[in-house]
Amino acid sequence: MSESAAGATLRGLGVSPGLAAGPVCRMEDPSHLRGRPWTAASPAEEADTAVRALLAASLGLAALAEKAAEPEARAILEAQSLIAADPLLQEAVRENVRDGMHALDAVTAACDHHRDALLAAGGHFAERAADLADIANRAVAAALDVPMSAIPDPGHPYVLVAEDLSPADTVTLDPATVLAVITERGGPTSHTAILARARGVPAVVACRGARELRDGTPVTVDGALGEVRTGVGDAEAAEVRRREAARRSRLRASTGPGRTADGHPVKLLLNIGSAADLDAEVSAEGVGLFRTEVLFLDRRTAPDMDEQVAAYEAVFRALPGDRVVVRTLDAGTDKPLPFLGLPEETNPALGVRGLRVARARPDVLDAQLDAVAAAARATGVRPWVMAPMVTTVAEAADFARRARARGIAHVGAMVEVPAAALQASRLLAELDFLSVGTNDLSQYTCAADRQHGELADLLDPWQPALLRLVAECGAAGRRAGKPVGVCGEAAADPLLAPVLAGLGVTSLSMSGPSVPAVREALAARTLAECEEAARAALEADGPAEARARAGADRPERDPDA
């Protein structure tokens, strides 16, 4: 923390661009609930206290559900409220008290027990396991009569400061009152980062010293620079708000195709799971990643031909004339589907997943390609089709042969494995396009599990080694005169967009809300400036240096200044 007369500046990772000024409001870490002193009463009273605490947690969650903005968030909270009031949980609590536990321990142990049962059920059921840890915290807080760590509600807009945010916290995060988010922990691909970007809330994560910020302290936040300043005066705060308002009105007005300042096109595309994800509000140039897994999840048997054709047709009909890139089924031992009948593996990330499933079940791939081809014929749309997890030239050639045999004209591959990036030129000899999936490519390049919170720095898309692999693909695309896109979190980072364009990437595919900021970032630089930024980033030794060299740590241009 650098102290000066004007206050202090904290630095972290800017993961969601935008400016904010306002008072800090802290969210307490639930760990403050553990190990509190507790005087046990009689077993009967302890049991009643524990059950009442669970019911209080249930009511609290139901109240949150009422307030939730999105239907998905409401459904999650309603289900969680029902779980907190479950009769089996109450039974387990009473049993634990009979075994000699006091109320708090009885609640925690009962929730732990049922969490393990859900984890054993696997799949979507296991996702609910985290709810039980949250319920235990809420019930313990209720028994202690201390406030539960939750997104604060001080009655005025504020800058949220937390250790990190859990999925349950983020569902209630309201962009109307939360001006910006600052977390002590977290990384560029953390839940906080992804959600903040999706809701357009400026965010700084991995911000050292954030936990020292006190409630009510006025701060300014720059979610692009990753900078938090304390001790700012009213005039400075007003200026920050004015610049943010101007930035937002520019973004709202933003439409049209992706272009650099000198007119070099970089297509702006959407990542979707079904036709329902297409947002009429967002101006984009098509779909860069149509994940077809949604259709297959939770299925004991493969969806039949008619059902598949109908799902693809729905997307094709919604986007006549636009580009649509369909990705074939990306499942496997990492995302198990019962009907594939794959054996369990000790290391699913390195196992039979993506296109590799076709080694065991070529019938599933062929049926899907038949369905895409049929939907294309029915709609007159000419979809692009790509396979996930392509590793070798032989795999690419085999996939291309299967797709072309069905009349599919544009056949490509996801580049998620370093081996594929290093062979990009050879792949493009067999294929019509490439799409770099940066989330998996990061995981495999830096050998760091995508879900591993402690290794977030290794998954930073600004890692120069990752950028080198993207450069390899971009150069191969330029030589062959074939498109090379990027999908994944990196494509949604407005600071990285000019660098990717400079590396030769011809399209960026992202979720709808990310499009305007990426469009603006591209329009602010010429292609030559993008190439210079790319060269500078490639020469860096680490992500922070890459950001600095590429000029991403400079304040964004303010046309109103």
């Binding site: 459904a75 289900a79 009769p87 089996l88 059920a121």
Partner: protein
């Protein structure tokens, strides 16, 4: 003891919204209903935790049982619920 065997029709399986709808309906019945998968242990149908832990996906066959004078009516209404796609209905309503 009266029983009904039914195949889960909801796309998401007995999970999320469909599980909630089923559990709440079970809790409203005049008699306790139990649910099991195959020869598994029957669990109370009015417990969301027990129902989720069944891990019943789209296409899973489950068996409901109940006792008492209201058993048949309760089983009929719950079996009918499970044989509908509760996800699809939710989409229609919202």
């Amino acid at each position: 003891m009266p029983e009904r065997t039914v195949v889960i029709a909801s796309r998401a399986g007995l999970h999320a919204r469909p599980a909630k709808i089923f559990v709440e309906a079970a809790a409203r019945q005049g008699t306790p209903v139990r649910i099991r998968v195959g020869d598994g242990k029957p669990v109370p149908a009015h417990s969301i935790l027990a129902v989720l832990a069944l891990g019943a996906v789209h296409g899973t066959e489950v068996t409901l049982d109940a006792d008492g004078p209201d058993a048949d009516a309760a089983l009929d209404s719950l079996a009918a619920l499970l044989s509908r796609d509760l996800d699809a209905e939710e989409n229609v309503h919202e």
